[in-house]
Symmetry: C2
Subunit: 196 residues, 2 copies
DNA sequence: TCATAACGAAACGGAACGTTTCGTTATGGA
DNA sequence: TCCATAACGAAACGTTCCGTTTCGTTATGA
């Protein structure tokens, strides 16, 4: 099976061993990819990485902390630069994001993160105040450009952003990324619609 | 504290004891209300209800199954009858739903359910194929009426529905029901916007 | 040279899982 | 009236995971 020979990564002295960090992140990725959130335990990651649990807890506060670093490490260079058409910008960005979620363990990582935040108040706080704002910078940029062009009113950006986020969450949380692909353009047109 | 004297609900013969069922559902409600999803364990519910765990597992397959019955039992008679204005109908329904989620343990139950579905494939399947369709009947009715009036195109109903669901999920999952209240009307106007 | 600190392994106590075993209780068909 | 049937609560089972502690080993860097 997936049984590599024992990795043998002893201490390299009084400092963090990058090989251990990499092995733990890789193991977390692999566990999420193969078992999903159900099988994602610190014990499982530790076993798979051939690392001691104290080594994990030394560098990561909890599961959510590890999940966020896994997600950050996976996150490809998905960028969004505004053109002149908000609806098209959003649709392009969304398509890229969804294929990122489908083509890597990231979709499962993201779902695990949202689930984790439902039982861990600290995780929810970090998600809301750090993780989400960071991830939404580009999308906010698209909306800001549309506001600057006068396409949408500034006061409605939060409502539209909530619609955008929720649309993505609904599809990823119900594991309907493939099925929902076709509805992206229509949804984005509504989110980007000029005020009447 | 909340320590009632031992309830003493022995068997009433070779049939289900309704008192036990009620006690278990009430205990599940209470645990969710006081501890949230983090404290929601079968052991905790069992202890609180003064019921044996086998009694729980005899009648409910798993946690998700119990959660769904709790939610169903809580679900007040929130109804949606279409008027002539889809945006207003959606806004009214959403406001009622959110105050239901805030004023009862239902918001937490719902969050627990979504979280549970991320680790249990069976729970996700039931959520997608039974729970959600049931819950969305009324909202679908609102959209259907708008389609019948010619206000929105029939082909866009799924996209708009996804936007609607996601908007609610985003706010409940991030525990931002109160903060987001003001953005409901704007969001619903976008979801209900006529095709251009 | 040597205090320092990270490493993996192993074990800890505690909690929850889902199941089994048990003695008790009452039903409903024979 | 008798008795097979089945639900009840209590307790305990073995397993898994939690987050932590202890331990001997390894190599740094002052």
């Amino acid at each position: 099976m997936t049984a590599e020979p024992p990795p043998r990564r002893a201490s390299i002295g009084a400092r963090r061993n990058p090989a251990s960090q990499a092995a733990i992140l890789a193991a977390a990725r692999a566990v999420l990819a193969e078992e999903g959130y159900a099988g994602f335990s610190i014990d499982a990651v530790s076993r798979r990485a051939g690392a001691g649990k104290p080594t994990i807890y030394r560098w990561w506060k909890n599961r959510a902390d590890l999940l966020m670093e896994v997600y950050a490490a996976e996150k490809a260079g998905i960028r969004a630069v505004p053109s002149e058409d908000l609806a098209r910008d959003l649709a392009d960005y969304t398509a890229a994001l969804w294929s990122f979620w489908c083509g890597t363990p990231s979709g499962r990582t993201f779902r695990a993160l949202l689930a984790e935040a439902q039982s861990d108040p600290d995780a929810l706080a970090v998600l809301r105040e750090k993780f989400l704002p960071d991830r939404l910078q580009d999308v906010r940029g698209l909306f800001a450009a549309a506001v600057a062009r006068g396409d949408i009113p500034a006061g409605e950006v939060e409502a539209r952003l909530a619609l955008y986020i929720g649309f993505n969450w609904f599809h990823v949380l119900t594991d309907q990324l493939d099925i929902g692909l076709a509805s992206i353009p229509a949804a984005m047109r509504l989110i980007a619609a000029p005020a009447r």
